[in-house]
Point group: C2
Chain length 168, copies 2
């Protein structure tokens, strides 16, 4: 199938990248929200959740926004692939361009904030405690998957820049 | 002056945004590297520098890379404005596009990593100590200026996407 007018990249490739973004972010959010650490003490159990950290809360926000946007774009791309028509025409290409750009920045900052906090936090806590170590490793796994999702989102952003209607 | 061929945005505007990026990053790096905190104790002075934190070191790296790239692009844009000729032709437009994109992500992640760490770190330390508070406030100022530099870099990145030679 020849690509439709004013699209530089095949919609199939574009769809594949969107799906990869979505899968990475979905696994990331599952790991993140199921990550808890319970410390037993004489005074009762002390439970640590990802929501106890600002950086992980921001990461969650970034991933949820990323998931919603990617789902929306995936649906539009499936429509484009199956019918050959683009909903919204050239105006939508502008929206894709700005949307992809903003979402890729949101995901990049989410992953960076989380990594930045975790790296310095690791030096402050007792890593020999296997519970703490597991908590931080799971947080790192969620962050890494968000970073991978960001890389796919950045590729989508490059594609949508190529598809921009020419100015000047 | 009419913009030269295959440039959607006036080189004067483009130059202005580059200079604003450069100024923000320059002030940011000066604040960051001069930020120290000395705690006097009975056992001698304990000096805390920004290099003691992974996140601030990453921020410094991001700013230095951003400064070098922005200086290079500013020089090229001054040449374009003064002579009307673009060094490297259309191939350079591709390089601008990818370069601006990568640098804007580098600056975004630098600022995010630093903010992410500082926000959670603030809850762990004694904020009533004016020295600690000043150290963290200066770190926040450097990070905010990097964030502002990122916003200008993101605008440059949008401009360079508009200037891309049309494919397809």
């Amino acid at each position: 199938m020849a690509p439709p007018p004013s699209t530089a990249v095949s919609p199939i490739v574009s769809l594949l990248v969107r799906i990869l973004t979505f899968v990475c972010l979905l696994i990331s959010v599952i790991i993140l929200i199921t990550n808890t650490y319970t410390e037993r003490s004489d005074y009762g159990d002390v439970k640590t959740k990802f929501t106890d950290f600002h950086a992980y809360r921001y990461l969650l926000g970034a991933i949820v926004i990323g998931l919603a946007y990617t789902l929306f774009q995936t649906a539009l791309t499936i429509f484009l692939v199956s019918t050959g028509n683009r909903i919204g025409g050239d105006g939508m290409l502008q929206l894709d361009f700005y949307g992809d750009k903003v979402i890729s920045y949101v995901l990049a900052t989410g992953a960076a904030a989380s990594f930045g906090m975790t790296q310095d936090f690791k030096r402050l806590v007792d890593r020999s405690d296997s519970g703490v170590d597991k908590f931080l490793s799971k947080a790192d796994a969620a962050t890494s998957l968000c970073l991978l999702g960001f890389l796919f989102a950045a590729i989508s952003s490059i594609f949508s820049a190529f598809s921009l209607p020419k100015r000047a």
